[in-house]
């Protein structure tokens, strides 16, 4: 890997007579990163663009004789109940766990922490971050136990006289969404804490002097000042949540039936359990397209802010 590194004696360009060659030398340290990203990131994406239009498979006719099938894979996808189910579940999962759950709870925690005593702040911060630091599969097991018929949630519900149920069986998409909130809220909390700490104290104080109450101050003073952080955070957690696989796979395997089978799990099942590589790649392409649209909105937002 290190053989492609620029020579350590490269002369600074100011003293070199040929700016073009100098520029090339200056940019040479980028080459290991570019090389890796071309082979392992751009390569697969381009391959996606090809394989999604073929009948490629691990077994059967598509394995021996790969043929172009045009838009067949996409037609099959959008005509299939299982695919639309997966799209729908992905939207529900993203909306509940990222946009509503992690984002709102993270913002709420960051706001409340400014008014709390240090001890409480440390306790809450540590437990929320603790859930975030845990490896994905471990988090999945902890929450499977929590939501199980015999688990802690039902013990608590029974204690206050409410009926319990096997949450992973009765409401799997809600259970995995709550699991993702538990696991991911720390990120939003950290982003918002950092953003709030940069608001000058005088601005909020003067709003208070002018008689703005708590909610009005939050709505018209505090939130507008962290719009940029809100947009950045929403975009990052949305993209993150779109591609969650391990958490759901370890908790429910997409089941029961297909009740928690989001797009990544559907793609995995089609490509590997059913060996339909071409079809699986077409689904991957749809996911990439969704991610790309979000990324572009995000970049546009950042750009217009900077200008």
């Amino acid at each position: 890997m290190t053989t492609t590194v620029a020579p350590t004696t490269a002369a600074p360009a100011e003293r070199s007579g040929r700016p073009r060659a100098a520029n090339f030398l200056r940019m040479l340290p980028l080459s290991p990163a570019i090389g890796l990203m071309l082979v392992f990131l751009a390569g697969p994406i381009i391959y996606c663009l090809y394989a999604a239009f073929t009948n490629m498979a691990l077994t059967g006719t598509g394995a021996a004789d790969v043929k172009f099938v045009g838009l067949d894979n996409f037609r099959k996808a959008f005509g299939s109940g299982a695919f639309t189910n997966a799209i729908w579940l992905t939207l529900v999962f993203t909306l509940i766990s990222a946009i509503i759950g992690q984002n709102t709870l993270g913002l709420g925690l960051a706001l409340l922490m400014r008014k709390s005593t240090k001890l409480v702040r440390n306790f809450v911060g540590t437990s929320v971050i603790g859930a975030w630091v845990l490896p994905e599969v471990v988090a999945a097991y902890l929450l499977s136990a929590f939501f199980n018929d015999e688990g802690t949630l039902n013990v608590m519900l029974h204690a206050v006289g409410l009926p319990g149920q096997d949450w992973l069986y009765a409401a799997p998409i809600i259970a995995v969404s709550l699991a993702n909130i538990w696991r991911g809220t720390a990120f939003s909390m950290l982003v918002y804490s950092a953003a709030l700490s940069e608001i000058p104290k005088e601005i909020e104080e003067s709003a208070e002097m002018d008689g703005a109450g708590g909610w009005r101050r939050l709505l018209f003073v505090t939130l507008p000042m962290i719009t940029r952080a809100i947009m950045t955070n929403l975009m990052l957690i949305t993209l993150q949540t779109l591609s969650v696989f391990g958490l759901i796979y370890a908790m429910t395997r997409g089941g029961p039936g297909t009740k928690s089978q989001t797009l990544p799990l559907y793609m995995y099942e089609q490509a590997f359990s059913f060996s339909q590589i071409g079809y699986g790649t077409a689904i991957a392409l749809v996911m990439l397209a969704i991610g790309a649209v979000f990324s572009l909105i995000y970049l546009r937002g950042l750009n217009s802010e900077a200008a």
């Binding site: 490269a10 392992f40 136990a145 990052l236």
Partner: protein, 275 residues
């Protein structure tokens, strides 16, 4: 006025405590179950604590080899990421060319792409290149998937080192790489540590990539081998699963503590991400 302040402070504390307890409950389960001889699925304080669960999982097949595999895999990938990210960040941070902006926007764009979606074609690529079930191939892919974000963060930290220090070195005849090594890196080591540790923690918990690209049981890292607790023999042993989970989690907990104590860790990260 003062009374109202006190009331809102009390309310904030109570709401926070309630949320904190909800976050802690699942964590308590793993702590209690790991020292419980007859662990079930609910949080219960072990009446007769034991270290038997830890003894049962501390052997080569269950713990030592998967953890070692994880260290080789994630350590190797994190180092590779870091070397490439530092090299790439230097020209991006130091020299203004027309190439910089499009490249940085592409990198930022890549941080958003769902890596999960790329896994099917990556598997195809690995089959073509004969890289399936190799540690080296998996390291390279893991490093690549972390690179965009690492480049972005490293550049942000590097921008914080004033360029005037290098200009003096350039006048003295030092090359770019020498200036990077001798002047820039020593001044930004907290930033380097943040990116390195953060990258490692992310990889340590990653399940899907090694799950797809590695096959042999003796090469699997801890994030995948944890599945062996749910073998074909019915009910898993929850006490042992909890003990193993704790052992597997310990390295990232220690690294995270290091990050937050010494470096202001996640808060520095939150600041850097803000854009």
């Amino acid at each position: 006025m003062i009374a109202r302040d006190r009331l809102s402070k009390l309310a904030s504390n109570l709401i926070l405590l309630a949320i904190g307890v909800l976050f802690v409950l699942p964590l308590l389960w793993v702590l209690f179950a790991s020292i419980n001889r007859t662990a079930g699925l609910r949080v219960e304080f072990p009446t007769n604590p034991t270290l038997g669960n830890f003894k049962a999982v501390l052997n080569t097949d269950t713990t030592y080899r998967p953890v070692l595999n994880g260290i080789v895999l994630c350590g190797g990938a994190a180092l590779l990421t870091m070397v490439c990210a530092v090299l790439a960040a230097y020209p991006l941070s130091r020299f203004k060319t027309r190439f910089n902006r499009p490249f940085l926007l592409t990198v930022l764009f890549c941080t958003g792409l769902p890596i999960t979606a790329v896994m099917v074609p990556v598997y195809g690529l690995f089959v073509q290149l004969n890289l399936v079930d190799t540690i080296g191939g998996t390291i390279m892919f893991m490093a690549t998937s972390a690179l965009p974000f690492a480049i972005w963060l490293t550049k942000t930290f590097m921008d914080g080192v004033p360029i005037s220090l290098e200009e003096a070195a350039w006048v003295d005849g030092a090359g770019n790489m020498r200036a990077l090594w001798a002047i820039v890196l020593p001044l930004m080591w907290p930033g380097i540590a943040v990116v390195l540790i953060f990258t490692f923690i992310g990889m340590w918990g990653n399940f899907f990539v090694p799950f797809m690209l590695l096959l042999s049981p003796e090469r699997l890292p801890a994030s995948v081998s944890i599945f062996t607790f749910f073998g074909q023999y019915g009910e898993p042993n929850y006490g042992q699963l909890a003990a193993y989970s704790l052992i597997y989690t310990t390295p990232v907990l220690l690294l995270y503590l290091l990050l937050s104590r010494k470096l202001g860790g996640a808060f520095a990260l939150g600041g850097a991400i803000k854009g």
